[in-house]
């Protein structure tokens, strides 16, 4: 039998960016908080100091900081007519499984999603008419506005040490920044990273083609920094080990060096690692949750942790899984289109070209996570007329490097043999001469892209795996085609010696790595009929349940998700502190 523990004010499931932010905020508000993290603790001192961190085998091949698929994974298929099979090895995306979560191994790209996402259906219908959005594209407005979120974006950027150049301060366009961004109240906390040759060449070429390049905003501290909470950052050393690694210089915006240690110093807070939550416990009236059940992974002991409030802050996929396993909310059915849990799973698309310049030395081993220049002319630029191209959404294009691994990064022109003497000669010849131009594209919600519980496969706890049904649809093919064309035009204008042209992704596969940007499944919205959560990420069904993370996004944009993930965590923490605690109940009438 499970051991009953003493009730606490709040239990947090998963201690990454979102869990860390709410843990800090709620403990400072005087709440007694327990965080349950399935992973181990990792510390910069023990795990990320040079030379320990520079271990491609441990961190890239063996996924040291990531989910162990032997214990729990997903089953995957492209459409409902297929039988899904378990993903036995991580590939396309890499959920974190340590204290700090995926925010230990992220690259730090921090964007502000705008009303073009939050009001997507209204804006497209107003401009292009009711019939522009296809019938099976289940995009909907989020129920929140950019203006509401702006102070929280600001708070997150200053916490995470984002380096960048503002493009729009209070409506004034700023030279050198992103001219398409929504107005921000003030500059980034830190100036942009030092550009590298690849980003400089891309910047020049993009300008020559009439576009508007700017340095990518990234939580890689461009110089030493103390954030408003007093957390200390070193300066980024451009070491080249960013994505999939912890930071050897404490320069990456991570909850491990910011919000989590602050919570840990608070006597109101307790962290339990190796604690695997199997179920959220529901009150008999179904209107509240009473806590969570979890297993100590080290000895198999089972516990029930009662709590006044439950905050699901695990990786986006695992939050949805817990909701389904706990019978919270009605599971989504793509045929009847009834139910909400599992609805609107989205991913991202993309395209990429590799350019080879004989005689150039790009030194790809020297870069920060955010060492690139970006254009948003086909992304958050509302003047770009999608009508002609027949798609909703867009893409950003970037030139530069992120974690060009000494062993794994082997650029060679297409047609080079993939092994043997000729490959060795090719990699030696071309390694220094290559740079990349890549696009990251939005994915719109579709009624047939969703999560549910797998009927066949089970995890180590005997629970059904979550099943992911996903593929790119016509809209994404069009986004990808447009992106590939723009990339190839820019690339050709740079006159490379050789060019591996960008091509469109048609069918999604679970290998190779693409991006850890899985969204949706417990989406926020304006009413309980088509969303799982209200705008404060509070469950419509159980008012003391909050679900925080990219799982709340009703669709996926071109941008990396962490900006709004962090901002929404602060937004939710404020709503709890300032409103919910004073008057516990639904924050939005259903």
């Amino acid at each position: 039998m499970a051991t009953q523990l003493k009730e606490v004010d709040a239990v947090i499931v998963g201690l990454g960016w979102t869990g860390g932010i709410v843990a800090k905020e709620l403990t400072q508000a005087g709440l007694k908080v327990v965080a349950l993290e399935r992973g181990a603790i990792r510390s910069p001192e023990k795990d990320f100091a040079v030379p320990i961190v520079r271990d491609e085998l441990r961190f890239v091949v063996r996924h040291d900081l990531m989910q162990n698929t032997a214990r729990d994974t997903l089953t995957i298929r492209n459409n409902p007519s297929q039988a899904a099979l378990p993903m036995r090895r991580l590939g396309s995306f890499l959920p974190g499984e340590v204290v700090g979560g995926s925010a230990v191994h992220w690259s730090g790209h921090t964007w502000r999603w705008t009303d073009m996402e939050f009001k997507i259906r209204s804006m497209y219908e107003e401009r292009y008419g009711k019939n522009f959005i296809p019938g099976d594209m289940t995009v909907q407005d989020w129920g929140i506005t950019y203006a509401e979120l702006e102070p929280y974006y600001d708070k997150f950027e200053y916490t995470a040490a984002v380096s960048g150049k503002a493009g729009n301060i209070g409506g004034q366009i700023q030279l050198g920044g992103n001219p398409f961004e929504a107005p921000r109240a003030r500059e980034y906390p830190l100036p942009p990273l030092t550009p590298i040759l690849a980003s400089e060449m891309f910047t020049q070429a993009a300008k020559n083609n009439g576009y508007h390049p700017f340095p990518r905003p990234s939580a890689n501290a461009s110089r030493a920094y103390t954030n408003p909470d007093g957390s200390k950052f070193g300066a980024c050393q451009y070491c080249g080990y960013c994505q999939r690694f912890g930071c050897e210089a404490n320069a990456k915006g991570s909850p491990l060096i910011t919000v989590i240690p602050i919570a840990m110093r608070n006597p109101n807070f307790e962290l339990r690692t190796y604690s695997w939550v199997t179920r959220v416990l529901k009150a008999t009236d179904g209107k509240r949750v009473t806590g969570v059940a979890y297993t100590n992974l080290l000895n198999g002991e089972e516990f029930e942790q009662p709590a006044g409030m439950v905050l699901l802050c695990a990786y986006a996929i695992n939050n949805v899984h817990l909701m389904l396993l706990s019978g919270l909310g009605e599971p989504y059915d793509p045929v009847s289109q009834k139910g909400v849990i599992g609805k609107n799973y989205c991913y991202q698309t993309g395209a990429g070209a590799t350019l080879f310049f004989e005689g150039r030395h790009f030194n790809p081993f020297m870069s920060a996570g955010g060492s690139n220049a970006t254009i948003d002319d086909f992304n958050i630029n509302w003047d770009f007329d999608r009508g002609k191209h027949g798609f909703v959404g867009g893409y950003n294009v970037a030139g530069g490097f992120n974690t060009a691994l000494p062993i794994g990064y082997r650029p060679v022109p297409r047609g080079t043999p993939q092994w043997g003497k000729a490959w060795k000669a090719g990699t030696a010849k071309w390694y220094q001469t290559a740079m990349n131009i890549g696009a990251s594209g939005s994915v719109m919600a579709n009624r047939y892209n969703y999560y549910d519980l797998d009927p066949t496969y089970r995890n180590a706890f005997g629970q059904p795996l979550m099943r992911m049904t996903f593929d790119y649809k016509e809209n994404e093919h069009r986004v990808g085609q447009h992106a590939a064309q723009v990339i190839n035009d820019i690339a050709k204008s740079m006159n490379p010696t050789r060019l591996n042209e960008a091509t469109v992704r048609t069918q999604w596969t679970v290998v190779p790595y693409q991006s850890t940007h899985n969204t949706g499944g417990t989406i926020m919205g304006t009413n309980p009929h088509d969303s799982a959560l209200n705008k404060y990420l509070q469950s419509w069904d159980c008012h003391n349940l909050f679900v925080v993370g990219a799982n709340v996004f009703p669709h996926n944009a071109s941008y990396n998700p962490t900006g709004p993930v962090g901002a929404l965590a602060y937004w939710t923490a404020d709503a709890i502190k300032n409103r919910y605690l004073k008057n516990p109940g639904p924050l939005v009438p259903a």
């Binding site: 910069p44 040079v50 030493a224 103390t226 200390k232 070193g234 050393q237 070491c239 210089a249 404490n250």
Partner: protein, 117 residues
């Protein structure tokens, strides 16, 4: 100034300004006695031998260096750590400005003399 006797490299160094410059170091080097981060504590660094703290894992290069951290040695090292001790593991590009280094060293010296950092 009292610091005048401490050595050429930081003659006239301003410890108050040095404390501000220590922001470059503090994310990895705690200034509290006996507390290590990614780097070892710099409390009491003046006069210490390179690599001598038992509970910190130094690079072999630093342990072999034979350096005693005088103000002059610190000045040379901080200016360009990799040139000064090749194969050391500190991921820091260096502090090129001599006046900045003098201030930083003045701060380290002041803290090291204080018994309650």
């Amino acid at each position: 100034m009292l610091l005048g006797a401490a050595g050429m490299a930081h003659a006239g160094g301003d410890p108050a300004r040095g404390e501000k410059l220590y922001e470059d170091c503090v994310a990895c080097h705690p200034i509290e006695r006996g507390v290590h981060g990614i780097g070892p504590t710099l409390y009491g660094i003046l006069g210490r031998k390179a690599g001598e703290i038992a509970d910190y894992r130094y690079s072999p290069a630093l342990r072999r260096s034979g350096i005693t951290w005088t103000a002059e040695a610190l000045d040379t090292f901080i200016a360009d750590p990799l040139a000064s001790v090749p194969a050391n593991r500190m991921p820091y590009a260096g502090m090129p400005d001599a006046a900045d280094r003098a201030d930083l060293i003045a701060y380290l010296q002041k803290v090291s003399k204080s018994s309650t950092p």
